[in-house]
Structures are given as C-alpha cells and as structure tokens.
Symmetry: C2
Subunit: 481 residues, 2 copies
C-alpha cells in the first residue's frame, strides 16, 4: 500500500526510484546492530546525485525525516530507519570520479566501497589508509558519517584524517563545499565537522580522499600470551620502545577460538590472548625496526611468536582478526559489539573490570581490540530468545561504557554514538556543550529531519517510532525524557 505522505515524492522522481512495498522496506529495516528494527515509510534508491538532492529538498519541504545509508554496516544503529521517514540508499552512487596520483588524491561518490578506493589507486602504488574490518562492504559515505577507524588507525588516524574535501547537500537542501584538493584548509575544519556527524548534517555527494604510498614491505608478528594482562603489558612495552607500528591488535581466548573455527588462521594453541603487531614502511627501515621489535617481544612473557614469512601468511593472520566479529557470532545466537576507549595505560585494569561485569551478568564477553590506542571491542554474547538476556546484554554494555567514561576515555572509538549510545552522550558532555552542539546541528538542519533520534538523547524519539515503544526503549537503552 502506497503512503499518501509520499505521493508528491513518487511523482517527483523517475519511476522505480521509490519503493513502498513491504518487502523493500523490510530489507532496510535494520543495520549492523541487528537486534533492533524499524520499518521506514519508503526507500529511495537514487541513481545519481541530482536525485539525492531532489529527495533531500523534498524531505525538507515536507518535513519528512530521512536516513541516508550506504551498506548499513553501522554497529551502533546509526543507519536504522525512522518509522515516519524514508531511507535514501546511496549504493548506486558508486563512481570513482578521479584518481590523481600526482597530488595523491581520489574523488569518489559516497556509495563507493572502502576497499575499491585502494583497488583504484593500486596501479599508482597508492592506497586509502583507513581500514574498518568491514572494508570489503562498507562505503566511504558511511565511513565519513561515523568517522570510522580500523586496525591501522593507530598509525594513520581515523577517516577524518584522510578526508580533505566534502561537497554535500545539507538537510536544508543547500549544496555546500568544504576543503578540496589542497591539504591545507582555510579557517575552521568544516570537513572534520562533517566527518562523524552521523548523518545529522546532510548527505555527502562527493568526497576528496587523501591517498598514501603503499608501504614497501610489511613485517607482521603474531604473539601468544598466557594472560590478557601480559599481552596488554607487551603493547605498552612496544609503544615505550619508541616504535610506531601500523597496527597493534589483541584478541582473547573466546575470540581466538571463534576465529580459528571460521578461518583456520593458525593462532597459537592455548593462548589466553594473542597480540598482532605490524610494522610497515621502506625495506631498510623495517629491517632496522624488526630487530628492535624482536628484542622488545623477547622481554615480554610471550610463549610463542610467529613471524609472517610472506604475504599469504600475513593475510592469514589478518583474516583471523578481521573475521572475529562475524566468527564470534557463530558461538552464540546473538551478540552485541561494544566500542569504547580507555587510556592505553589502563587497558589491563579495564579488561579486569569487564571480566568481573561478565561474571556478574552471566553473559560471556569476547574481547577484541585495537590495543595501541586503547579502543576496546567487547563482544557480548547472548540469546535473544531467552527472556531478559537482551536487557542484560545492554545493561552490561552500559556498564562498560560508564567504565570508559570514568577512566577518562570515550563511549566510542569508531562505531559512533548512533541510536544505541545516545543516552550516554551527556556523560561525556555538559549541558552547555550539548546545547551548542544542537545549535551547530540546526545550522545544517533547522527542521531536525536528517537521521533524527541518533547521537543526541531525548525528545526526538517520536520520530523514531510511531508505533508504541521502540525495542531499544523496551530494552531500557534509550529514553524519551
């Protein structure tokens, strides 16, 4: 049944762009936070930029909320639809407009897959550095919305460090441009403001990305430890030695077990934790650094060290790590991935607290994390068919986030606030700062129609669902007060 609210939009767009049937709407009702769903009024799949702009302007004119999304891999519910609004799916805007090797930049549309940028740059010896685990399917537009990181953000920084220009349509329908091919910008960092805005400011139309020369060689080491704390101490030892690895990752027993089952990655048997350290750069530099790393590792409580002998073995090591989230999913009917940050030096303390929370709640937690920058990803295993387990999982997630804030860290490292963590935002920012954030948002979106109900707590919840309590409200995750 077609919605009358969308009648003029249906007429505005070429036939086939707007889907209103239940099956199409159902396909978009969830994102990577699969426990929660919400069916939109309709789904627009624009074929070009002009149709995106038309749709956004129509939404502004008719005060209809919209959620723009790419592949919907958000783990914080950031690309969940709103019940009274539409989804704008950007997957057809997947053109790599330009690769300019001289200036080491690429210009892409928002629906381009992360890994495709590196593929397009590869013939020039260049690549795009940010590497979320989902990089085979996630889009650059989504990476920008959530300022995504990845294993290598230890050395290279987040998405915002690699986006130098954005042309976007604001939620109020104007087309604006910030930054550009020059690495040095004028005035405030408006491009950085747009990165991480979680879809609340508008829709990126084209994006200028910085490309880096591909490292000449990699040196990837996998180290097994008998305790999580020993692995954590090793991370501090590496950093204190002055080395800056491209990546430093830790996985603990439960995650190792899952990854092993999924990818036969050959991680050290009987390890309570494995540490992956990857050096990268020119061959001569790596030759020097690998010796230094060797002696640092030797000074830790490592019981087994594997050095990747070739690209294939390196890929195997990373396959284990990158599969961890989905692999853990096989150990349990349902799971939540949490994403918090603690000061690196307090990692051991944080992990012990999480273990205690896990015991209290009776739910298993598998820790996988970007150890070098203190970014934790506890995977909380639960069974949604057991009454109350979802609520307990969410409560456990909440305890972990509170812990991160108390330790001087952050409620998100790279997954964003989205829908799941919006009630935690005021724990990080006082009311004057939150008020200012609302005013800044209003500069882009005076009608609060762009991804309403995300990031900020409170009164927007009615847009979230027109049909009684939202599952997240039932779970006690969000509130409308």
């Amino acid at each position: 049944m077609s919605s009358t609210a969308l009648e003029s939009l249906r007429k505005l767009l070429p036939p086939g762009r707007l889907s209103e049937d239940a099956a199409s709407r159902a396909a978009f009702e969830s994102d990577g936070l699969t426990a929660f769903r919400c069916r939109p009024l309709g789904v627009v799949i624009p074929q070009n930029e002009a149709e995106v702009v038309q749709t956004v302007r129509w939404c502004h004119e008719h005060s209809i909320p919209f959620v723009a999304r790419g592949s919907g891999t958000s783990l914080s519910g950031g690309s969940m639809p709103v019940a009274d609004g539409i989804v704008i799916s950007l997957n057809r805007l997947r053109q790599i407009i330009k690769v300019d090797p001289d200036n080491r930049i690429a210009v892409v549309q928002p629906g381009v897959i992360n890994l495709q940028v590196s593929a397009a740059a590869a013939p020039y010896g260049l690549y795009y550095a940010p590497d979320p685990s989902s990089q085979k399917i996630c889009t650059i537009g989504g990476n920008i919305a959530f300022n995504s990181g990845g294993a290598h953000c230890l050395k290279y920084g987040m998405t915002s460090n690699h986006v130098i220009g954005i042309r976007a349509v604001t939620a109020s329908g104007e087309i604006v441009s910030f930054g550009g091919p020059s690495l040095e910008s004028v005035g405030p960092d408006f491009t950085g403001l747009f990165c991480g805005s979680e879809g609340l400011f508008g829709v990126a139309l084209d994006i200028t990305l910085r490309l880096l020369p591909k490292p000449e060689c990699f040196h990837t080491v996998l180290v097994g430890y008998r305790s999580l704390r020993a692995a954590g101490d090793a991370v501090s030892a590496v950093i204190d030695s002055g080395l800056l690895p491209g990546a430093m990752e830790i996985m603990e027993a439960l995650a190792i077990e899952a990854a092993e089952a999924a990818t036969s990655c050959g991680y050290p048997k009987g390890a309570a934790a494995v540490l992956i350290v990857e050096l990268e750069g020119p061959r001569e530099k790596i030759d020097a650094e690998r010796k230094q790393l060797e002696s640092v590792i030797a000074s830790t409580e490592a019981f087994e060290t594997v050095v990747a002998a070739d690209a294939r073995q390196r890929d195997g090591i990373w396959a284990g790590r990158k599969s961890a989230f989905s692999a853990v999913g096989k150990l349990s009917p349902d799971f939540l991935v949490q994403d918090g940050v603690v000061p690196r030096k307090r990692l051991g303390e944080a992990l012990e607290a999480i273990e205690a929370f896990s015991k209290d709640s009776g739910l298993r937690v598998a820790n996988v994390f970007h150890a070098g920058d203190g970014n934790l990803h506890p995977l909380i295993l639960f069974d949604d068919s057991v009454d109350g387990e979802l609520e307990r999982a969410e409560a456990l997630a909440g305890k972990i986030l509170n812990l991160c804030v108390q330790m001087g860290g952050s409620i998100t490292g790279e997954h964003g606030v989205g829908m799941e963590k919006r009630d935690f935002l005021p724990k990080m920012y006082d009311s004057a700062t939150m008020e200012l954030m609302h005013r800044l948002r209003a500069a882009f979106d005076p009608k609060t129609i762009a991804n309403p109900g995300k990031m900020f707590p409170g009164a927007e919840a009615p847009a979230l669902s027109g049909h009684g309590l939202h599952p997240l409200e039932k779970a006690g995750v969000i509130s409308r007060e």
Copy 2:
C-alpha cells in the same frame, strides 16, 4: 580619558585589569601585519580564567566587540583590534597545567608560549610538534585561532592535528568542552572546528595538546641550486622517492642574502635557491634514509651540499630559515608576508608567475616557502613612505592569492584569513557555503562580537573602525559592500 561605554566593565574587574589610557591602547593597536593599525576602546589583561569569562560575558551583555589575542604575531591582521571594542590580552594565562608523559599530553592555558610546551615536555623525552617560525614568542591560543603550521607540518600536520581537547568560553558566554585526553573523539570534530576559527567563536581557556617522542636523531641537509626551478624539482624528486622528511624548505636569493646578513648562517654562496631537507627519527632508520636522500640529491642539479655535522650546525641552518621574515625586513622599510598554497607539482609554475608579477609591479619579492606542501611565503618589499607603494604591494599580494585559487590551492596555508584576505574568501567558497559558515558562527556568537571584521567579507566593517575609512579600505584590500 575613560570611556563611559566601559564604565560597568571597569567596576566589574579588579583594579588595574582594564587600561584605557592612550599609551596602553596604542601598544595593542597593531599585530604582525604592521602596516595597519586600529586603536581599541580599552585593553583588559585578565590574571586568570574567571576574569576572561567575566569579560566575555560582559561584552556579550553589552554588545561590545572584543578581540582576544596572545602575542599578536598574526601576519594577516587577525589580532588587530576593532575601534569600538576591547582587546583581551591573554599573556598572563601562561600556566602549563599538566604534563602527562604516560598519555603523552599536556594541558595548557592559551597564553603559554609555543616553545615552552616543548621545554616542559623535554624531561620526558617528549615535545610539541607544530613549529611556527615565531615559536619563541607566539602563544598556543594564537596557534589555535589560526591553525598554525611550521616547517615540520609537512610530516606532522598543522596545529589542529595536535590539539585533542579545548575548553572555551563561547562569545555568548557559555563554557563548553570538546575532546579531551582520549585521542579518539565522539561525533563531529568540534575541536577541529574551533582550531582555525580565528577568534570568531570564543576564547580557549585550556587546551589539551598531544606530545610526541623527540626524534632520536636528525639529519639536516642544506643544498644549493643555481635556479629556483632546480630546487623545486628536487622537492618533487625527494617526495617521489618515497621519503617523508620532517621538513623541506626553500629560500631564494634575496631571502638568503637577508638571512646571511642577519645570522651568518653560511648558506652556499651564489645560490639562486637553497633547499633544506631534514630527516628525523630513530638512528637506524635515519642511517638507512640518509643514503637514499644522498642518491636523490645527487640526481638533481645541486652545486653544493652541506650536511649538518652536529646539533650546532643544524641550529645554524635553521636559524637562517627562521630569521628570514625579520631579516628580509632589513632589506626594505616595509614588507608584506603573503601566505598561499599551490599543488606541490605546480610550484615551479607558480614561482615563475610570481616573478613576472614582481617585474610588472616594480616591487621586489623574496620567496621563502614550505616546499613539501606547496605553501608559499612571498615577502613583498615596499616603502610605505612612497605614495602608492602600499597599494601596489597589496595589489601584488592579491594577484598571488588569485593565482593560488586558480591553481586549485588556497589563500592561506597557515597565517589565516584575518583582515587582510577576507575579500578573497568568496573566491574559495560559494555563497551557500558562506551562508552556512555564518550560521555556524552564529551558534557560537549570535551577536557577532568576537573578532568582528575578520575572516568574512562585508557588512561588519563598521565595527572595524568608527573613524572614516580604515587603512585597509584605503588600500583597497577590504570593502564594505
């Protein structure tokens, strides 16, 4: 004579904080863009944060414009007073609140001198990377306002890459906090938005800075070339080789001559241009890279190469470069430093065009620049006592800025838009984007009282001067249309 407009401010603050006598006001009437002056109504020198907040709130309540400034080293007129407003001098807020070597951060007040941060971090083997030439006197607050760079921003990025938290009082008087000790922020990069806002958003009260481990060793090479183009080609050759030096600077003959006279820096005699390349990092890495650099330099048209044998010789090389601006000043009664960016590969072309502009105008130009990132600093020599020379110098500066925009670069690399370049901003941004910028500014400063007349062109000029045409208007640099 005391101003009645400031009467209630005088009563609000402890005695001695507000100066209204002509001599005190005259001391603040100019900044590093010395050709232009404007006398404020009064000058407040707060002794602590609370007095800053009180003063800003008073300004907001009474709609009196203010300009907060540190050491006043702005080269774009960004810290020039406004005639109907007050200056808030932050030099007494010079406390280094905390150095935390474990987390590699420092928390400082806005009046702390750039180099003092590194001095405080030195006992821990750490330093603060951004190094404007004025780092011995410029303040962190000023560095944030203009998102300052320096010779080493080629490798390390600008100020905004090193500021991870800001607590500030907005122009509307609220105290807000963004970012913090965690390197991974939540949501949009509000800290980055504040960096480079040129004093239009409010006043930073304390700032959390990222510290880096001091490089174990430096390898500094000074290379002489017979032509500017040969030096420019050498820069491309270094970058293309995959090396990422900490800094790559070029100075041309006129600047060399001036630096030599000022510091006896011993630059190669008869050079049309010198290139300074500095590698930095762990000893083993530098040992590898110096060989690579040597062979790259050997492939260029270098006629003399000096390698700094020790720290003293390194300091001598840098003293020449860092003194260049003031040294050039001795060649001429007056000079303007311009600051523009072109794509690195088009440096040679840009320099030839500047040479032609210089010939046309009959004014000498000394080029000094951060070659690695295409950031030009042409120093335009003129004599203000000769009728029309200032106007010709400004016209020449304008031609250079237009050239930068046409080449896909930027009107500022690190000095900011300030007062001097505000009419050029619309050449970089279209009207929809400018409108959005105004709305974002209004979120911080609804009454347009914080550093009005800077960055944005147009209607604020009345606040700029209550007494007829401002010198910049007479020179045709700015307009009020």
